[in-house]
């Protein structure tokens, strides 16, 4: 079976993009320089959009200045930002897997750092972001800035979006560790909206704090706090997988966590849909720079900033390569 790639932007208002203009489209065979149709259909014909637009890309995302309304320290080395944006942008970002790029207004573009959306308030126009200060880019966010340049919306922060959007009236297990608590909020809310029962296993991780308590307060979910990498944690997760008839598992954390969750699923012998956070180093977000490219075990190369992949395929190649 040949593996055709799905671009998360296909059919969005940002499609077709620069990749169409250069015959590097992730999805459309015509826009890869081939003669005939052969695509992983995403509900829209990218070639038609491209031709109708005069053989050009559509309007692309630009940097916009945004104000920081609140900055709060959360646990060791972590920060939460509340940022004022337009209601439209907040609505576009109120999707699991959504992310934006942020950098200081005075800094060159290579300081752009991708940030998952923790929560979006589309009636008032706010987004909430949490991050851990690690390298040059995040350290530069830390300075007492009140204004940033923001570029977005981007959507490929999670793999398995299709199953996440489809699952309804099912039992779901959400696992989140450390800073990955942040993107779990939109996931949990989506699952609740689709009348799923959610068991949330949350682990402080290196952040050392459960910083999302306020945001999940009052939600109708079962919350269990546990170190998910410990023997106890693994025992707990396996028990849930074995006894709760889980239709979807979400793993938010490092690839090591993903691999261990997939391993547990296989040991128990169940077959839920798997959704994981995208942990690749994302640089331009547009499929141009190639910084996020990974090689799957079948040799296919995929730019992970835009390409939806199967969780197992992503992790499989990690285990292969690392």
């Amino acid at each position: 079976m040949k593996y055709r790639l799905e671009c998360v932007d296909a059919g969005s208002e940002y499609c077709p993009c620069y990749l169409a203009e250069t015959n590097n489209c992730i999805t459309c065979s015509h826009l890869q320089g081939k003669q005939f149709c052969d695509c992983e259909w995403r509900g829209t014909c990218i070639y038609q959009e491209y031709v109708n637009n005069g053989y050009q890309k559509t309007y692309q995302r630009e940097d916009i200045p945004v104000q920081v309304e609140k900055r709060e320290s959360i646990g060791s080395n972590c920060m939460m930002l509340k940022i004022k944006v337009s209601k439209t942008l907040a609505r576009q970002l109120k999707e699991p897997g959504a992310y934006v790029f942020l950098r200081g207004t005075d800094l060159p573009h290579y300081f752009d750092v991708p940030m998952s959306i923790m929560e979006a308030d589309d009636s008032n126009g706010y987004i909430y972001i949490s991050y851990q200060t690690l390298g040059a880019k995040t350290k530069k966010l830390d300075e007492d800035r009140s204004e940033f340049l923001l570029r977005g919306p981007y959507w490929n922060g999670l793999y398995g979006l299709k199953s996440l959007k489809k699952v309804s009236e099912d039992n779901c297990l959400v696992i989140a560790r450390g800073i990955a608590q942040a993107p779990a909020i939109l996931v949990i809310k989506k699952l609740i909206k689709n009348r799923n029962k959610v068991i949330f296993v949350v682990d402080k991780g290196v952040v050392g704090e459960i910083f999302i308590e306020d945001l999940i307060d009052g939600l109708d979910i079962r919350i269990i706090e546990e170190d998910v990498q410990s023997e106890n944690g693994k025992f707990l997760i396996k028990n849930i997988l074995r006894n709760e008839d889980i239709g979807l598992v979400y793993s938010g954390g490092s690839d090591v966590l993903h691999a261990s969750v997939i391993n547990m699923i296989d040991q128990v012998g169940v077959n839920p849909n798997i959704v994981i956070t995208n942990n690749n180093e994302i640089c331009c977000g547009e499929g141009i720079c190639g910084g996020c490219t990974i090689r799957l075990s079948n040799g296919v190369r995929a730019k992970t900033c835009k390409t939806q992949l199967e969780a197992r395929k992503v992790i499989e190649r990690r285990v292969f390569d690392d």
């Binding site: 459309c28 065979s29 149709c37 259909w41 509900g43």
Partner: protein, 426 residues
């Protein structure tokens, strides 16, 4: 029991399903839309010219079922229009539901809104068909009848864009080529000017939008021929058509309307402004394709190489029929090739020799003739149908064109094939 999986529920796929079932297989038919008979939902012309012979041959060979449906759903029988004799026009609003009931009654398992996207293959054998929801339909023998139309990108690159035809790619997703997924290169039809594919040759007007006079004429006689204003006559347009049997001067100088429930307009597309200049069409609007004023679907971009028993070359357990199997035009052509492929699917699973129809039958000759022609550059620019152009000429000159049912029956019994499709093989 042999499990036969058919991909594509057009006329070819429906015919294959019935004959495979009659030969004893368990049959699953995969269709990406919510309708059977594919392009048959917008056609309707049967039994014109040599199609009469082919129809009676298929019936005598033991597969009357689908022709019984098209005959019983006829709005007009034995009519004439320029270049065409003894045509039957079926009512496009009646046929699909009747076929659907027939297939269900025969115990054929139909999967609607199920789009094949890939295959699972081992060596030169297909094991299963992957659907767009990633489920897999396994089988012993497969028949590809996905047609050759579209999808959108092709209709745009080789035509005037998606015209919103009955196959409704934007809603149900694109056609794919199963044989190509199995590693066999597609053969592509060409036009006179060397470009790929060809436009579908007709559109449908909404009958209620036509003048009372035209509607009455259509209801009574089945045909209305309307003169085109001098300044709008365009002979060049005949070249781009699929249906060379209708690429006659009469069709360029006149608008020919046929009553198939809607008013079938014998032109690939026709700008609405110009159309409305014609007397009686002042309020005309399109019923299919919706953008018939601008474009039509593009076909013949995906033909599998095959032998004369309909088996695809290079794959051990794949057969094909209909437009997938050659530059064929027509319901009759799809049904005739589909029936043979369905029957042979069971033979293939049993390892017995496949049936090849003799060339003294019109059906046997068209299958072999189209195969000989397709390997030539000129042959790629032609279309093959019992109803006209080169092949009908050939039928007439070789004596294959017969309209006496009894004589056709006698001929088939002489070659010992009477009722062959009724034989239960397992």
């Amino acid at each position: 029991m042999t499990k036969v999986v058919i991909i594509g529920g057009g006329w070819a796929g429906c015919a294959a399903a019935i004959s495979a079932k009659k030969a004893g297989a368990e049959v699953t038919l995969i269709e990406r839309t919510d309708l059977l008979i594919g392009l048959g939902n917008v056609g309707g012309i049967m039994r014109n010219n040599g199609r009469y012979t082919a129809t009676e041959e298929n019936i005598a060979l033991g597969a009357p079922e689908l022709f019984d449906v098209t005959d019983s759903c006829a709005r007009h029988k034995n009519i004439e229009f320029p270049g065409h004799k003894h045509a039957t026009l079926y009512d496009v609003t009646q046929v699909e539901p009747t076929v659907r009931r027939l297939l269900k009654d025969k115990g054929i398992n139909i999967l609607f809104e199920s789009r094949a996207i890939d295959i699972i293959k081992e060596d030169k054998k297909i094991k299963g068909i992957v659907l767009s929801d990633k489920s897999v339909i396994y089988g012993d023998v497969f028949i590809e009848t996905t047609g050759s139309t579209g999808p959108m990108g092709n209709c745009l690159k080789y035509g005037n864009g998606c015209s919103m035809c009955i196959l409704r790619c934007p809603s149900f997703g694109p056609r794919i080529s199963i044989s190509k997924r199995a590693g066999v290169e597609d053969i592509l039809g060409k036009r006179g000017d060397e470009s790929y594919g060809a436009f579908s040759g007709s559109c449908k007007l909404n009958k209620d939008s036509l003048s009372a006079e035209i509607v009455e004429k259509l209801n009574k006689e089945g045909v209305a021929v309307l003169r085109i204003p001098e300044e709008d006559i365009n002979l060049g347009k005949l070249d781009i058509k699929v249906c060379q049997q209708y690429a006659l001067k009469e069709f360029a100088e006149n608008i020919v309307l046929l009553d198939t429930g809607h008013a079938k307009l014998m032109a690939p597309f026709y700008p609405l402004e110009k159309l409305r200049k014609i007397k009686g069409l002042e309020n005309a609007r399109y019923e299919d394709p919706y953008a018939g004023g601008k474009a039509n679907s593009v076909r013949y971009l995906s033909i599998a190489p095959r032998n004369n028993s309909m088996k695809v070359r290079g794959v051990d357990n794949l057969l094909c029929a209909g437009e997938k199997s050659g530059l064929f035009v027509g319901h009759t052509e799809a049904i005739a090739t589909g029936t043979l492929a369905g029957h042979n699917s069971v033979r293939l699973s049993l390892g017995v020799p496949l049936l090849e129809l003799p060339r003294n039958l019109a059906i046997g000759d068209i299958i072999a003739f189209a195969n000989e022609q397709i390997i030539t550059e000129e042959g790629l620019k032609k279309r093959y149908t019992f109803a006209g152009s080169e092949f009908f000429q050939r039928m007439k000159s070789t004596g294959l064109y017969i309209t006496d049912k009894e004589e056709i029956k006698r001929k088939i019994s002489r070659v010992n094939l009477l009722g062959i499709y009724n034989e239960k093989l397992i």
